[in-house]
Symmetry: C2
Subunit: 555 residues, 2 copies
Amino acid sequence: MSKKKTENVSVFALGGVGEIGKNMYVVELDDDIFVIDAGLMFPGDEMLGIDIVIPDITYLKENKDRVRAIFITHGHEDHIGGLSYVLRDLKHVPVYGTKLTLGLIELKLKEAGLLKEVDLRLIDAKTKLTIADHFITFFRVNHSIPDCVGVCIQTSQGAIVHTGDFKFDYTPVDGKQSDFNKLAAIGQRGVLCLLSDSTNAERPGQTGSESLVGAELNDVIYQAEGRVIVASFASNVHRLQQVFAAAEANDRKVAVVGRSMVNIVEVAQKLNYLRFKPKTLVELSQVNRLPDNKVVILTTGSQGEPMAALTRMARNAHKQVNIRLNDTVVIAATPIPGNEKSVSKTIDLLFRSGANVIYNQRKVHVSGHGSAEELKLMLNLVKPKYFLPIHGEYRMQMAHSKLAEQVGVKSNNIFIVEKGDVVEFTGRKARMSRKVPAGNVLIDGIGVGDVGNIVLRDRRLLSQDGVVLCVVTLNRKQKKLISGPELISRGFVYMRESEEMISEANRIVTKQIEKSLQAGSDWTELKSNIRERLSVYLYEQTKRRPMILPIIMEI
Amino acid sequence: MSKKKTENVSVFALGGVGEIGKNMYVVELDDDIFVIDAGLMFPGDEMLGIDIVIPDITYLKENKDRVRAIFITHGHEDHIGGLSYVLRDLKHVPVYGTKLTLGLIELKLKEAGLLKEVDLRLIDAKTKLTIADHFITFFRVNHSIPDCVGVCIQTSQGAIVHTGDFKFDYTPVDGKQSDFNKLAAIGQRGVLCLLSDSTNAERPGQTGSESLVGAELNDVIYQAEGRVIVASFASNVHRLQQVFAAAEANDRKVAVVGRSMVNIVEVAQKLNYLRFKPKTLVELSQVNRLPDNKVVILTTGSQGEPMAALTRMARNAHKQVNIRLNDTVVIAATPIPGNEKSVSKTIDLLFRSGANVIYNQRKVHVSGHGSAEELKLMLNLVKPKYFLPIHGEYRMQMAHSKLAEQVGVKSNNIFIVEKGDVVEFTGRKARMSRKVPAGNVLIDGIGVGDVGNIVLRDRRLLSQDGVVLCVVTLNRKQKKLISGPELISRGFVYMRESEEMISEANRIVTKQIEKSLQAGSDWTELKSNIRERLSVYLYEQTKRRPMILPIIMEI
C-alpha cells in the first residue's frame, strides 16, 4: 500500500440509486477513476417502445484517459448488461470479474461483436490488485448467483467498500460462505465509506437461505405425478443447481428451454458452477419419449414476459412443450415490481390448461438480497465512518439510512444520493459537492440515445388516441383547393362506423381551408388552423385527442 | 313464496369471473331475468387509450323485456360503475340498492344525465321482495364500505345465494355484524347454488377487522408532530370514518381533497354513514391557517394515479397542498395489481419532499374481502349443493373451489365458469349448457364500443415505434413523379439526428416509385411497394418497425 499525502476521494453513482437497475458506481482518487458495475435496466411502462435503458456515461467519456478499471461484482443483467454499450467508448479499460461473471460477460460481448477488442481480466475473492498505485481487494458475498464479490479500494483516508448485491447465507448452496473474517478485518483497519445494497432494507429480519428452496423443490418434485416445469430467472444459478439436484434425487431428467436459460446453463456447467450427472441433462426433443414422471423442464418466463418459453407454453403456442393435465408448474421467483399482472395472467393460463401451479403459497423462492438484520450485520462488520445506501429506490435508501443510524452511523455522515451527486471526502470532512451528468440513455433497436423526450411524447400521444392525417392539395396562387381534404386515421376510431362524423369533419376543414386561403394565410398558419379546427371538432364528438397531422401539397 | 312446478334455473356471469372488476351476474328463472351488480373495470396496460371497460350486455339487450330487476350489492365502482351505460338500454328496469349504495349511484347517474329517467328503489337488509312471482331476500355482509348486502333468490329447486363482496368482521366499524343467523337459516332451508367472493381465496387464515386499522391510525396521528395526510380509496367509507374519529381523538381538523373523496364524504355524511362533529370538517383553504399539529388531510391518490391529489402533492404540483418536512403521509391502502410501480414512485417522491411516509410497514390497511377461513365459514353456513366461485381471477376461483371441496362440496358440483358460461339447473342435475355473448366493451372518451381490436392494434404499433408518412404527388398517365417523396415521422427517431438515413430512405423510395410507375403498378401495388421497401430499409438501419403510411396524390 502506497503511503502518500491525503488523496482527494470522490464517490458517485451513475445508476442504481433512486431505482432498481443499471448499477454503475464510480470512485475517483485524485486523477484515477474506478468504475464498479455497468448494468442495464428494463424500461418503465412510460418508455414506449424502448428495449433497454443504460446509464449516461458522458462523464466517463469526457475523462476516458483517467478511467483505470471497471470492476464487476457479479453476472446479473443489472450489473453487466450495459457493458457492451459502455465498452464501445472505453475499449482500453480493463474489466475485472470472477470466472462465472466473465463467462456471462463474454456471452454478451460476443453477441455485440466486441469480445476480441476488450480486455477482460480474471479475479477471484482473494485477488489483490495494485492499479495506478491504488490497492484494491475483494471479498466474497452470497447472492442468488455464484461467484459474487464486493470491492474494497484503499485510500489514504481509509477504505471505500462496495458490497455488491449480497445477503448473508449461512448455508449457501455452493458451500461458500461470505468472507466474514475479511470484512471484519477491513472494518478493523478503518473504512472511510461503505456503499451497501438497499434492496431489502424495508424488510425486517433475515432473508433466509437459498437452501430452504432446495428442500421445498425436492418435496414438490417428489409429490408430482406428472411432469414438473420450473420457471426461474436464468441468471439465478443457485436455483438452477437446486432444480438439477432435486431432479436427480427423484430420478428425473432435466430439459432446458428458453434462449437465456440454455446459454447460462451451458456457461455455468462448462465453468463448473452447475454440477449434475452427464445423463441428467436431455434435449427438449427427447422429453416426449420419457414417461411424464421422469421429466423436469427448466424454463424462462417466471416474469410472464410475453415471448418467454413458459408464457408461450401457457398460451399453447410453444412448438415443443404444451401444458397438459397433471403437469406441475413451479414459479420459482417473485414478480419484479411492474410484472405482477403479466405473472398473474400466466398463472391463470396455466391453471386453465389444467396444470397444478405452485407459486407464492410455498417457499419456492427466497430473495438474493439481505434484509434489515443482514444489512445491520454488514454495517457492524465494516464500521464505516460515512455511509451511502445504494442499489435501491429512494424509499429503500431511506429505510437503509435509518438502519445505519440505529447501528450508530451519524446521520450527518449518511448520504442519500441521487444519480450524479458527487460525495467528496477531503481529509476531515465529507460533503455533496458537485453534480456530474447522469440519467437514462434509452436504447430502441440499435439506436443508442436517439429516442428522447419528444419521440416518447409522440409515442404516448399516438398510443392514447391514434393519429388523424388531413391530406390536402392546393394552389395557393389561385387560392384554390385542388383536391382533398382527405382524412385518414389510425388508432382513432373505426372509420366505417364513424362515417357521419368524418364527413362532417371534412366539411368543417374544407370551410376552414377556404377561409384561410382567402385570408392569405401562410402554410404554418394554414396547418395550425386545420389542426386546431379538427382537434376541437373531434374532441367534441369523441372526447379524444388524436395527433393531427395536416399534409399540404402545393401545385 | 309461490309453489309451482320445477323452474328452469340458469346462472351466469357477464363480468367478474376470470378478472377483478366489472361484476355482473345473471340469474334466469324460466322467463324472468334478474341481474346482480353492474360494474366497471379499469383497463389493462394493453388497452391503450381506453378509459374504462364495461361488460358486454348484448344478452340483456336482446331479452330486455324479460329483465325484471337489477340488484346492487354495494356502492363500489366495480359493482355500480357500469350502471350509467347499462341503463341507457334498460331504462325500464328497476334498480334496487341500500341507502348508501343508491346515494353513490345517484352521483353517477346525475353526471350521466340519466337520474330522472331511471327507477331506483330503496331496500335494506330486511327487505323482502316478490317480483314476477319470485321471492327475493337480502342479508347484511361486512366489507370496506357500509350498507353491503348479499342476495337470496328463491327458486323451486332451492335458493340461489350471491354473497356480494364480503368478509366476516366481528368488530365492524359501524357495529353492524354480518347476518350470521339469517345465513344459517337460508342454509337450513336449502340452497341450490352459492356464488361467493373469491378475491382472497389464496390467502390463508382470517382477514382481520377494519377496527385494527383504527387503532393504528390513532397511534400514527398521536405521534405525528406535523400535519398528517391520509390517502385512501374514497369509497372505503369505513376507513374514512376511522380517519375522522382518530382526528377528533387527537384534537385535529380534517380537510378533504380530491373530487371523488369530496363527493363521497358529502354523500356519506348526508346519509349518516359518516359521523363527526360539525366543526371537525374544514375547507382546504383554511388548513394553512391552522397549526400543523391540528391538521389531517384526507386525500385520493392511494394508487399513485397520475392525476390524483396525493400524486400532485408529491410532484409539488397541487395548487393548495404541498408536501413539506415534518408531514406524515399515510398510504392507507395496498396497491391494486398493476399499480405497484406508480405507488412506489409516489412514495419515493413523498420521501424526497421530506415527508415521513407510512405505507406497508404498519397495519394501516386491511382487505375488505374474506380470506380462506371466512370463505369456508360462508360455505359452512350456506351449505350449497352447487358452488360457483366468482369475483376473482381464474386462479382465485381455483383456490376457492379447493376450499369448497375441503368443506365437503362435491367437486362435480363446482363450476369454475368463464364469462358467458351458462350453468343450468334442471331439477336433479346441473350442467354448463350454452354460452351467451360476453366480453369487454371498451369506452374511450364518450365512445362506447367503437374501439376494437384493429384500433388497439394500431395504437400498440404506433406506441412502439411511431409512424412514418411517405407523401408523394405523381402523374400516373405520364408515369412521372411530380413531387416528393417527403418523409415525415412522429415517435420514430429524431429527424435532425438521422438526416443521413432519411435522405437515403428518400433515394430508395424514389427509385422504387419510378420502377413501379414504369411497370404500370396500380395504387394498391404502389403503396404496398413503398411500404415494404421503406420498412425493410428502416428496420435494417434501426431495428424498429414504425407504421408506414404512404400518401399518394395524383394530379
